[in-house]
Subunit: 517 residues, 2 copies
């Protein structure tokens, strides 16, 4: 099923009218009438931000990080000059200067949709490589996440406050902080490299494109900058998740694919929901099948994303290659075991690898990483259309822009601007555009990660480089090196370090020549 | 006298405190105590926008232009998603498709601070070259100028409305209009070249830097993108005006330089202002010397800017090489004629070349080209510090940032952000940055134009090219070709056409290859 393109509107506000002309793929509601079809509320689950939804029961980790904490008095609105836009808010950033000396590189992590500590603790790569570059490390928190709340507790009150939460303002924040920092450190000539993973990787690459006078290079890991408009096939994300499971075991894929009907059928029976609650060890009986669907959905999607080659705890504590482990569980039950029991077993790996749960909170739990601002971003600029076709292991479903946008309007009082990101940052014909223009960006992607499909997967030029690993997952390169790392991962990181070294040396050379002229 | 640098603030709001530490060059107030020293109100006169101030008495010209007029429903605020930012306003643009066919280039003039018709009628270059490229011509009006008023008559009411008037929003407007236009014309593959003169040239070059996915080249004529912060010596503008007059005649320069004291001395005498009014043929007696000062000042500055090699009517109707003509007048009076009489004669050339005035409105007249929004822009982002040293023919004066910013605050209720433009668009170490990054920008400058000193005057790379003409003035290349054009001007335009042809051909080639891949 080919994705139906969002028509390009003459004006944004008329979008609803145009969208009504969209072809909505019919498969969804006919084959799985009572499963969540694709309302926006379900759409959000695909966002990068919602991934921690079910991890909330755990206490918030307070990692001991090798960083000092600082707050920058940031301007609320860089792009209007209304008096209220001059308001300052404390933007949090973390610093490590252990290895740095004046004039040496500054490595900046462009924070994404969560507490900056969370990203710092999951980006050990920077600490690992800092000595090689004598680099200053800076992690800047994204506005409206973590502690960087422009309106304190009222930051999420309404579209009036949330209006200032978007990528352009965030990039300008980074620019202002970096410029001020360099000035205050009397290190104006330090080359700045920006790093980011996931949405943070999008920000890092966009920062290099929009602020080349501030950052001389970017390493964007797992950055799906092509997941907008109709650049990437809308089905690619769920196809990629499914491929991970299919690659692990065809039976596993088929069990999961068949389990939705089983779930649906059981829920329609008398006492069906009670039985489902028992099967899924619900702490509290579920009142509908939706949270169960969601609970399973999250387990598959996030496990595919973090299908790391070593034990890790990004979303949840998990063993090495957790997709394979899930499939081993599914395949390992005795013949005759129901699909539901099998998939429950698989999902339990995700939710309970450390065996601390006696029962599961199947209903949505509150957000533990301060990520809920993504809902707003997904409803305004970060419109990444996705559908699910018959090829995936999920129930098929189309992307109904009209429904999506109306839900956004209902929830936040504003309509999405689905073409804004590609207008502001590009993406269409990226090869032609960036070959002719940009430089010094590494796009790294691991093909286990479903977000990779919206990433840059081929070299664009000699200095816009795609590093792709077949066995890599969501910004795996950014994790701390460990003795168990496979060769391809060690190689990947070495390549990144080598490329950055080369670019930084070139920068120093160019700077020397430029000063002589 | 070296310009005192604006210190880089830790935060914008504390600027007033930092600014109090600024060294204010003492020359101004001591040598010319009663002349306008350098208050912000005088500072604005240096802006690109105020240049038409004294031309207001004339009826607004309604040129017959070869364009059709259109209005695009533009979004008020691209960078926040507050409900009120979704408001649409009609943004005016002009189209000429006489020579165009689908797939052929689209030439876009990125409108600056005035009615778009005014720029269209003074950019005959585009009509002249359109047939050579089969180009579609588009002139997009800048928001808050001409008819493109987001809040109708209330657009200039307060900082609340004016807040949306700035360069970033303007660039985003252009991006949205161009993208929509290409879509509606089914000509997505058309290469887009942006053109602009003066502030419009700054916008054109910035557009190429920020939106390389939309514009594949820019021709920025007389674009002082380096007139910010301390990149260009603050004295350069007035030194350049003075140099024009000195080159025409040393005596002329000295007469003008000496006239200020004469004016000052006369004004201090009993009945001095009445005599000044008579000498300057004031329609109404002046009440202070300030408007006379201003009247003279404008005549010199704008005549230097438009020191064109042929008769022209950009600011005012003027003969070819008007600076030389002014100096001939000054030098041509009989021995013993007062300096004031001489400079009045010179200024009359500027104000009354067509001999239509019997007397002069020395007091400020209302703005005839819809330019007054520049005051706001100069008080927010477009902070271009300038001073006048002993080398210039004007009374020396420093740039007092504190006074300037306080006046802005008083007038508009907001403080300037003097480092914002260089944070957002760069400018420092431009050679190093753009050599390593950008491409396909022509910066053309005529050295007669005092704004040239803040422009890019040397080639940066093989595709960031500076075209400099010693006898050129403010975007002279954009004027319609005429039979009287000197060879260097014909050559300049030919060079521009040749370079653009080359770049456009390369683009088509790259596109062909890219589609094959």
């Amino acid at each position: 099923m080919a994705p139906s393109a969002i028509p390009f509107p003459l004006l944004y506000l008329s979008f609803a009218v145009f969208a009504s002309l969209l072809l909505v793929p019919p498969a969804a509601s006919s084959s799985t009438p009572k499963l969540p079809t694709f309302p926006p509320s379900s759409y959000y689950h695909h966002s990068l931000a919602q991934r921690a939804k079910h991890s909330a029961a755990r206490p918030k980790p307070k990692p001991k990080l090798p960083y000092t904490t600082h707050y920058f008095p940031q301007v609320l609105d860089h792009f209007t000059f209304q008096p209220k836009g001059y308001k300052l808010f404390p933007q949090k950033y973390l610093l490590n200067s252990t290895f740095w000396h004046r004039g040496a590189p500054i490595f900046v992590y462009t924070g994404n949709e969560g507490d900056i500590e969370w990203f710092a603790s999951n980006t050990g790569f920077l600490m690992d490589v800092a000595p090689k570059f004598h680099a200053l490390l800076v992690f800047i928190e994204h506005r409206f996440y973590g502690e960087s709340m422009p309106f304190g507790n009222g930051s999420y009150k309404s579209a009036e406050t949330l209006g200032y939460l978007n990528s352009q303002q965030a990039l300008a924040d980074f620019a202002v902080v970096i410029r001020s920092l360099k000035h205050n450190l009397s290190s104006e000539s330090s080359p700045v490299v920006v790093f980011g993973g996931s949405y943070g990787g999008m920000l890092a690459s966009w920062f290099r494109l929009k602020y080349p006078h501030i950052a001389m290079a970017a390493l964007a890991s797992s950055a799906p900058i092509l997941q907008f408009d109709d650049i990437t096939p809308w089905s690619s994300f769920y196809d990629a998740v499914s491929q991970d499971f299919k690659d692990a075991s065809l039976n596993c894929y088929e069990v999961i694919k068949g389990s939705w009907d089983e779930l649906e059928a059981l829920s329609a029976q008398k006492e069906g929901l009670a039985e489902i609650s028992r099967t899924f060890r619900a702490c509290k009986n579920v009142q509908s099948v939706d949270p169960v669907w969601d609970w399973l959905w999250s387990a598959y999607v996030y496990t595919a994303m973090v299908n790391y080659p070593t034990e890790a705890n990004f979303m949840m504590p998990l063993p090495a290659y957790p997709v394979e482990e899930m499939c081993k569980i599914i395949d390992g039950f005795p013949a005759g075991t129901s699909k539901l029991t099998r998939v429950f077993g698989a999902a339990s790996l995700y939710y309970n690898y450390s065996q601390t749960h006696k029962c599961f909170e199947l209903e949505h739990a509150p957000d533990s990483h301060g990520l809920h601002g993504w809902d707003w971003q997904a409803c305004t600029e970060m419109v990444m259309p996705m559908n699910r076709t018959e090829h995936s292991m999920f129930p098929p479903s189309g992307f109904d822009y009209k429904e999506f946008s109306q839900e956004c309007k209902r929830q936040f009082g504003v309509m999405p601007r689905p073409h804004w990101i590609t207008t502001e940052f590009g993406g269409k014909n990226i090869k032609l555009v960036l070959k002719r223009y940009g430089s010094n960006i590494i796009f790294s992607n691991g093909m286990q990660d479903p977000w990779s499909r919206g990433g840059v997967l081929k070299n664009i030029s000699s200095s816009i480089i795609a590093l792709v690993t077949q066995k890599g997952a969501h910004h795996v390169d950014f994790r701390s090196a460990s003795k168990d790392d496979p060769h391809w991962l060690v190689d990947l990181r070495n390549q990144e370090v080598g490329i950055l070294k080369k670019w930084i040396n070139e920068y120093y050379e160019d700077m020397k020549h430029s000063m002589k002229e």
